[in-house]
């Protein structure tokens, strides 16, 4: 302690004394003229070194400047300092400086004396202390000798004591061993009672573990009568216990967990595993079957109940308990080789029943309202079965489950198809009604106006329906559905299921039903309204041009990522649609033609042409024919384009006809009915026919208005001709026909593609009626014109 203080004191004085500069730079300091402070400083430095203070001091000194004029600095150069003073200061200042310096030196000297005195005192006291310590240690040495002697004595004693105690120690150990044995024996003796108690309390697990603990011992010592007795008792009790366990097991009322516990205990009791397997499975079966019956019962009373709920419950209850059974089974019977097959058979059997139930349930799911429910239910179903698959690898159950899902999906697609079909038929019925209703109210004028709207709304609603169905079906392939990544759902379902058997079938159905309209209606006398035929024909044509490819593209986008299997090409469907459109239009022409034909036929057949009066008017039926033709023209014009006509002569009005009629027709009558030349009768018309093209009456028409109208007019006029040929005319009968034909000529030419056709047919009619006339005296052309213009 004192040493420390010694070290410090010079440090403290450092600041004050210009000579007290210390540090490691001893050499630098040594440059100084004063040697005493130099030695002191060295001593001081060694002390510091001794006490490890140099670090500290260095840190303190480093801040000191290197200025040689700093009187307190380590690099102080007295010469420089003096020179500097001499240079810079005046004499007075030098004097002051000198006095100040002297003062400082004096004070420093006195300080040093004080320090030296203090330190001297301390050395003296230290010496005293050391001397005193010397004395004390001598005393202590004596005491230590005494202590070691004592310790040796104690050791001796201790050895002798332990020697005496040895015997007793072994005895005690033996005794404690006996004690343990006795406790064990007590356990054994108490075992029967304990087991009984456990039995009473139904703490079977405890009983079994107790018994297991004792069993070996009992076995080992069974030759001793007392142990034998205990063993027998235990056996009896354990048998009873096993009995009870079996009873419990057999009752089956307990939960699956209890059951598996039972089995575990029984196994520990060395019951034969196979038997237990069987029993276990049969119990599990009975429980699962009751589940199934519950399901079945649920299905039966509410066939229309939400699929979701029942499937979910079915899945939850049945499949999870099945899983539980499988797990516990596997845990329990893991060591028994052949039991795996039993389990498989068991699971397969039950799953088959479950599947049949599920399938029945799915089959009952007829409503196509919300597919997402079904898909979700199926997904859940499938997911659960995956769990089974994980538990029981190699089982056929998941595959069968997938099959069911696939079947359900195909079934669903079928249902959608039929739903689409019935939707289509319903829409057609609606259209039919829409066509019929206004016709009743406003006598056929307003109805055709709505045709394009009906068409567009029909096709739009069908398209929407298809889209919504596609969206619903698309759920089957959604990413988050577990079975959607099955190869079936990726490939076949998309191409065969959705594209072929849903979309393509529907389009085919549309065409088919259209064709059906043509066929059935023809025989039953046109039960289909002609406007509907026209509309459908346009619909099919639109399908051919755009809708089919649109629908298929849509389908392909949604469902086909790659083409696996051959699919019906768009062109085939388009061809079919076109064919249907053509058939419908042909049929439309036929029906409309027949309606007009019928009027003409009745008008010809019911009249007595021999005894008719001189014509004054165009017959009303002709006006009706023209009116109807006009309205048909309007109707067709709403849905079909105009089409091309053969070039008309610039004014193909009645004037042309009148010239044609009066000149040629007259010439023909003249030629035909000169009695001298019966041979000439047919000559003109035959020559004419030779050069005109053959006219196909009920032939195919093109998809335009003119062609349609031509077809209808052809049919009507040909009928007129054939009917005329079956009758016999009087003079006025012929004239009436002339008037009628002229009237028709005036109005009909504008509808047809080639007016010569109308000319030709009307010519034939007039010609034929002239042939069939008893008194052929044709009417003056001018009179005919007057009558016709009068209306």
């Amino acid at each position: 302690m004192t040493c420390h203080r010694i070290g410090h004191t010079p440090g403290n004085s450092n600041d004050l004394s210009p000579l007290g500069m210390d540090g490691e730079a001893d050499e630098t300091v040594a440059v100084g003229d004063d040697c005493v402070p130099g030695r002191r400083r060295r001593v001081h430095g060694m002390l510091k070194l001794y006490y490890g203070l140099n670090e500290e001091g260095k840190a303190a000194e480093e801040s000191e400047s290197l200025d040689p004029c700093d009187i307190n600095g380590p690099h102080f150069d007295p010469e420089l300092y003096l020179n500097k003073l001499r240079r810079e200061c005046s004499l007075a200042e030098l004097m002051d400086q000198e006095t100040c310096m002297v003062k400082q030196i004096r004070s420093l000297d006195s300080d040093m004396q004080t320090l030296v005195y203090e330190n001297y005192n301390k050395f003296i006291s230290a010496t005293d202390t050391i001397r005193k310590m010397k004395n004390d240690f001598k005393k202590m040495e004596d005491e230590m000798d005494c202590l070691s002697a004592n310790m040796a004595a104690i050791t001796e004693f201790s050895a002798s004591i332990s020697g005496t105690l040895q015997d007793q120690h072994t005895q005690i150990t033996k005794l404690s061993g006996v004690h343990t044995l006795l406790r064990k024996l007590q356990f054994l003796f108490e075992l029967p009672a304990r087991l009984n108690k456990c039995l009473e309390l139904q703490a079977y697990a405890q009983a079994v573990s107790s018994h297991r603990r004792a069993r070996c011992v009992l076995q080992q010592y069974s030759h001793l009568p007392s142990f034998k007795g205990i063993q027998d008792d235990c056996h009896a009790i354990m048998d009873k216990l096993a009995q009870e366990l079996r009873q419990k097991f057999r009752d089956g009322g307990s939960s699956a967990k209890d059951l598996s516990e039972c089995v575990e205990l029984l196994l520990q009791l060395d019951e034969p595993a196979e038997e237990l397997c069987d029993k276990f499975l049969s119990h599990a079966r009975s429980r699962l079957e009751s589940d199934l019956q519950g399901l079945e019962a649920e299905i039966r009373p509410y066939p229309s109940a939400a699929k979701d709920a029942s499937a979910r419950r079915g899945c939850n209850e049945f499949v999870s308990s099945l899983c539980l059974v499988i797990t516990s089974y596997q845990e329990l019977f893991i060591n028994h080789a052949q039991t795996g097959e039993l389990l498989h058979a068991f699971v397969d059997n039950l799953a088959a029943r479950y599947f049949s139930l599920v399938e029945r349930r799915i089959q009952e799911e007829k409503s196509v309202g919300d597919n997402s429910l079904l898909v979700r239910a199926l997904d859940r179903f499938h997911r659960r079965l995956q769990a089974v698959a994980k538990l029981l690898p190699g089982s056929a159950v998941p595959n069968k489950g997938t099959e069911i899902v696939i079947r359900a999906a195909t079934e669903r697609v079928k249902q959608y198809l039929s739903a689409l079909q019935s939707f289509y038929m319903d829409s057609l019925t609606d259209v039919r009604q829409a066509l019929a209703t206004p016709r009743l109210s406003v006598a056929g004028r307003d109805a055709p106006n709505s045709l394009p709207e009906l068409l567009s709304s029909l096709s739009a609603s069908i398209l929407n329906q298809i889209k919504s169905v596609l969206a619903s079906v698309h759920l089957f392939t959604a990413k988050d559905i577990t079975f959607s990544n099955k190869p079936y759902f990726k490939g076949e379902f998309c191409s065969q299921g959705v594209r072929e058997s849903l979309v393509v079938s529907f389009i085919k159905f549309v065409c088919q039903s259209s064709r059906h309209f043509c066929e059935s209606a023809g025989d039953k006398g046109g039960s289909t309204p002609p406007a509907l035929l026209l509309l459908l024909s346009r619909l099919c044509l639109d399908y051919e041009t755009s809708t089919i490819s649109y629908i298929l593209t849509l389908t392909d986008e949604q469902f086909l990522d790659q083409h696996h299997s051959p699919v019906t090409p768009v062109t085939t469907l388009c061809a079919e649609a076109k064919e249907a459109a053509q058939k419908l239009l042909n049929h439309y022409v036929k029906v409309q033609g027949l309606i007009i034909s019928q009027m003409l036929r009745k008008s010809v057949e019911t009249r007595d042409w021999v005894n008719t009066i001189e014509p004054r008017n165009v017959r009303a039926v002709m006006k009706r024919v023209v009116e109807d033709t006009t309205s048909i023209d309007v109707q067709v014009g709403l849905l079909y384009e105009e089409g091309v006509r053969k070039a008309h002569s610039s004014d193909s009005s009645k004037r042309t006809f009148s010239v044609y009629s009066s000149s040629r027709q007259q010439a023909r009558y003249a030629a035909s009915y000169t009695p001298s030349a019966p041979m000439d009768t047919n000559l003109l018309s035959n020559i004419h026919k030779l050069f005109s093209e053959r006219i196909d009456i009920f032939s195919s028409v093109e998809f335009n208005k003119v062609s349609v109208m031509t077809g209808i007019i052809k049919i009507s006029l040909k009928t007129f001709l054939e009917c005329v040929r079956l009758r016999t005319f009087g003079r006025y009968g012929l004239q009436q026909i002339q008037v009628d034909c002229h009237y028709l000529q005036m109005y009909l030419w504008r509808f047809v593609s080639d007016e010569n056709l109308v000319h030709f047919l009307l010519d034939e009619i007039v010609g034929s009626s002239a042939h069939r006339c008893l008194d052929p005296a044709p009417m003056e052309q001018s009179v005919i014109e007057v009558i016709c213009e009068r209306g």
Partner: protein, 387 residues
């Protein structure tokens, strides 16, 4: 092998009535009746010389009126019936009569063929089949394969069964059947079935086909709406007793099994206008001839509903030996119902077509402009049927 070109014969008048001379089995002979309101109507007896492809004609005058239907007796070559229109008191009435050809018409024609046009012989009237109570006659049907003693005439809505007595000079109505119903019903045509001991008759009125039992003169079946439009003609399959062909204004030819009249067995729609006549070939009932007012005649091969549905069983060996390759190919195709040929020689509506009674491979068709065309079944088909 080239088929023989059709042979065309032109009449001066318009004509609708055509019949084969049923009793004649050696010569190919057709009877044609003309329709003219102005001139005396004629019956042309057309003989076809198969060897030389030549037509010989003989004309007999039928002065009573224009002929709408003609029927040749199955027993007596010289006897025939006609349905004709005559005008009296500015009314047109349809009548039916039995006629006999003058015995020497054949010799006459040979001696001076040019004369016949100018000075033809006249038919000899045997008896009228008219009953003033029963309206206008549409057609007269001879009992098929009978002894020429029984005919049926269809008049308005009555079917009259006549017994011809005293060498056909007297006709007595032995039985009648009447079509009852709403409106003015009228038989348009009919056919006497050659089956069931000739005890059945089929008639057409409007769109319905009816079958009658001649023993009781009662209706046995009725095919309502057999055709969409008027039924124009009927014919019985000569070999299959329940099969019946019909044609009509809906351009269709339908084949019926009268035991099941709900649906036709088969339906053809080859013509583009009304079909006026349908005829089974007498020997090979797969061959069906149809005539239409689209001026066409169509020969169809209806194998599937014929009495020889599989054709003759021909083994390959036989085929490869016979004929040329072309035929060989054809023979191997499965036999299907098909149109054999469409004949376009006519310029006007064809109202009648008939098979020859002498040559089963030959048929005639008559169009309104008086053109009679004689055609043959294509040889390829003929040989395929025969071999």
């Amino acid at each position: 092998m080239e088929d023989d070109a059709p042979v065309i014969y032109g009449l001066e008048f318009q004509a609708r009535a055509l019949s084969a001379q049923t009793a004649e089995t050696d010569a190919i002979r057709f009877l044609v009746g003309t329709q003219s309101l102005k001139f005396d109507n004629q019956i042309h007896i057309i003989d076809f010389d198969d060897e030389n492809n030549i037509i010989n004609k003989n004309v007999l005058l039928h002065q009573a009126g224009e002929i709408w239907h003609i029927g040749a007796s199955p027993a007596d070559k010289a006897v025939l019936t006609t349905c004709y229109n005559k005008t009296c008191d500015s009314r047109v009435v349809s009548c039916a009569a039995v006629w006999r050809m003058p015995s020497d018409w054949e010799t006459g024609s040979h001696e001076s063929p040019d004369d016949t046009a100018h000075n033809p012989q006249t038919l000899e009237l045997l008896c009228h089949l008219n009953d003033s109570a029963h309206g206008n006659a549409a057609c007269v049907l001879w009992e098929p394969m009978g002894d020429g003693k029984r005919v049926i005439s269809l008049a308005d809505n009555h079917a009259l069964l006549w017994d011809l007595q005293e060498s056909s000079t007297q006709a007595v109505v032995s039985n009648t059947a009447t079509l009852e119903g709403k409106g003015q019903l009228k038989f348009t045509s009919g056919k006497w079935s050659p089956h069931h001991n000739c005890s059945q008759l089929a008639t057409a009125n409007d769109t319905a086909i009816r079958g009658w039992d001649l023993r009781t003169m009662s209706q046995i079946y009725c095919i309502e709406n057999a055709h969409g439009q008027l039924v124009r003609d009927l014919d019985f399959n000569p070999n299959r007793q329940y099969y019946l062909a019909s044609c009509g204004d809906d351009c269709k030819v339908k084949f019926w099994d009268v035991r099941n009249i709900q649906e036709p067995v088969k339906s053809l729609e080859e013509h583009s206008h009304w079909v006026w006549s349908v005829r089974y070939n007498h020997s090979h009932d797969q061959l069906v001839l149809t005539a239409s007012s689209d001026s066409r005649l169509i020969l169809s091969n209806m194998v599937s509903i014929s009495s020889e549905p599989f054709g003759h069983l021909v083994d390959d060996e036989e085929l490869s030996e016979g004929e040329d390759n072309h035929q060989d190919d054809k023979g191997k195709e499965p036999l299907k119902d098909s149109v054999v040929s469409t004949y376009e020689e006519h310029e006007d509506s064809v109202y009648a077509a008939e098979w020859s009674s002498a040559d089963p491979w030959l048929f005639a068709s008559l169009s309104y402009d008086g053109r009679l065309v004689i055609n043959r079944v294509p040889r390829a088909l003929k040989y395929r049927i025969l071999l």
